[in-house]
Amino acid sequence: MYNILICDDERDIVNALKIYLNDSAYRLFEAFDGKEAVRQVKSNDIHLVLMDIMMPEMDGMEAMVKIREISNVPVILLTAKSEDSDKILGLTVGADDYITKPFNPVEVSARVKSQLRRYMQLGAGNRSDEVLRCGGIELDDTRKKVSLDGETVALTPTEYEILKLLMQHQGKVFSPREIYQKIWKDLPYGSENTVAVHIRHIREKLEINPAEPRYLKVVWGQGYKCEKTFSP
């Protein structure tokens, strides 16, 4: 049973979220401004916070800073502000994820699930050095297995090799040509297209929203990379 705090000044949205997250595994708490949210986190054992940014009394950013002082719970910001600068600010202040309004309910529940799994499993930690990690993705090269937030994901051998290459060099940008040469061990002769298609498939399997990937980033005009994350 996980405790989730939903915080938004719009009651309608809080209610809607409560309906979507209505699952026997979750117990839902609600708050309508930042102050209340901080209070709730203090008084209850909250496992995840879904919070709007623009709220009366105390806004989401401020509240999040306060929450971070007392707890390490995952915080998903839920906001109508879709500027890149807003996202970056939110993530640097300490948010774990960012969802823009109007949101897709399926996406919200997927992200909630993902954050919860990561948060809960990080403590358990069966971490061996054989396993490559990038955010919620784990690649176990000994067992040739890839999992996302603990759930095994089925990849084709080629997809697996590409993912492994990217995860072995996190942060480095590989051009489609390089990837082709490294995986197919051949010159592409114009078939770099295949790489792009494969990566699109990997993204569809590993990302909640393939158009806005969190881990497997597309660097347009240069190549692909696996985002470097600072896993604790």
Binding site: P105, A196, V197, G221
Partner: protein
Amino acid sequence: MKEREREDDFLWGSVDEQEEAAAERGRKNRRRKTPYCLRGSLAVKITVFFVLAISCMIGAMSGILCLYMGDRGAYVRELDSVLLDELKACSIGNLYEVKYNLSMGNVEAAAELCRDSNMDIDLIWVDNRNHENLLWGTEREYDTKLKYDSYYSFGDMKKTVSLNNHILKPDVLYLYRVYFNSEFPENDDFQKTALLTRKLYGLRYSLIGMVCAEVLLCAVCFVFLMCAAGRRKGREEIVPSVLTGLHLDVLTFIFAAVGACFFVLLLTAASRTEGFGIAVLLPAGCAVMAVWITLYCMEFALQMKQGEFWRHTLVSLAFKGLWKGGRLFCRGVLRLVRGIPLIMLTLTGYFGIFIVEFIWVGYFVRSRTGVRLWLLEKAVFLAAVMYIALVCRRLLKASRALAEGQEDYLVDTSGMFGDFREHGENLNSLGQGIAKAVAERIKSEHLKTELISNVSHDLKTPLTSIINYADLIYQEAAGAEDIVPAEGRSAEESSLAETEDGEGSRREENARIAEYAEVLLRQSRKLKKLLEDLMEASKATTGNLDVNPEPCEVGVLLTQAAGEYQQRMEEKELALIVRQPERTVQVMADGRHLWRVFDNLLNNICKYAQENSRVYLTLEEKEGWVLIIFRNMSKFTLDISAEDLEERFVRGDKSRHMEGNGLGLSIAKSLVELQNGRMEVVVDGDLFKVTLRFPVIDASAVK
């Protein structure tokens, strides 16, 4: 290669372009047909060269003969008198020999000289009474008009000779009467001279005609060669020759030097040759000179045709260098002067004038009062100049500060008067005005950004609820439909009165609610997309967007885009054909924004392209531009102009039965322009073509 390109243009160009291109080609062909063939042929050129040389030679020869004949008076006198002059010149030698022999008393030898020739001589003594006494004569059996008289004295005589009872005296002039047989029966020099002279005399007018004709022919050949210079068979452009590498003035010098040497040589040779040798040597020399000059002119014409021939001359290069140096020098001096502060400059100027005047005063003003007055005037002048310079400096500082953007700078107008004061105050109010304007501008800019962000937020929050609740209704209704049988079963336990009819009507109701909710959901999602696009469009057009241009490999982006869209294209049965050059092509662009452009365009294609057709994505480099071209066949008739399509909210299908809001192209255009690119849309029948243009950046210059 060119033809292929043209073919391509033909395929893809608009109807107008095609017609124009065809007409242009037709015109060219007609113009080209004959002269180009002739001008281009090397054989024709060489032949014309030969004709030029030969006609020049003949012309020169005729010219020389004409001159000769003219000199001899052939155009004003009778044949006989001309002939007589020629014979006279020819007979002088013989006459002398006869005279010598007579003075020696060798009458026989003298007679011998005239025996086998067409010449006969009578020696006549004219006495005091003007009576002619024949002393000696050669036999003559003909009567002739060809005769002349000339007087000679014998000079000193070594012997006493008596002829026909007359003793020859040394200091008396004797008359020699020379006769020529006009039949010229004997084969001697006179016969030859007479023959030639008669022939030339007969030809004297033909020769003039000949000269004119040859000059004309030469001119025609020359003009043709000028036209033909640089033309080759099968080439449209001007083909440079071997000599084109040389600067024109160097070439001119070489040609002139060689020509001059040859000319001097020719003259020297001509002065040493006599008679008809000249008539051959001079024309030959003329022909060579003509060929030489023509060659030079051809090269000159070639360089003229290539254009900018002046730039290729050494003189112009030197001139350019000098010009550059001079300009640099002037600039340096100017900078130096500008570097001196205003006060120093004024003082320097003042003392310059002072010294000049001092010298002048020292020379011409003798009175003491005059000098004193002058000094006083100079002191007052100095004070005035210094005051003006100081005020000017203050004003200058103020305007400089204004120009640099310090709007709050204030000029100290105390101590200024008149126009200076007014100017200072004007500057102050100008500064305040600018400061106000800038502040307002910043505020409004800020407001605009705020507005976009806030409106977007205020619209999105209610929209979120609408979408979510519509979704919830839909799920409930649709879910209930499925659950109905189960519910029905549970209801059966409580009330068995529940009839089949009631159950059916409830199911029907649920289905209807689900349908309505679905419409709500679909429309609100559309609203969401519209809102997002609107925000983006407004940000892109106002430039309220971070753009981080960096070298971006368009080829890679193309590949990535193709990969992203492969599946969607396949679903629509569209074949995506990507064409790109072997070498990497880079542009300065922000990858994310460029992808957004690609995304919009490819999205459009997926929506509006005819199923089962091909979509071309081409990357090429042309004249300093990188061209990215999207081409597809439209599903609907595009009865709308390209300009209109780029406008906001305009869509290709007027009936608007497709999803979409008509912002895609507008956003793409704005984004491209934000990255210093250009976007062109061309509609040609069903062909829809979007061209993105970015300036090429040198791939090697960027690491």
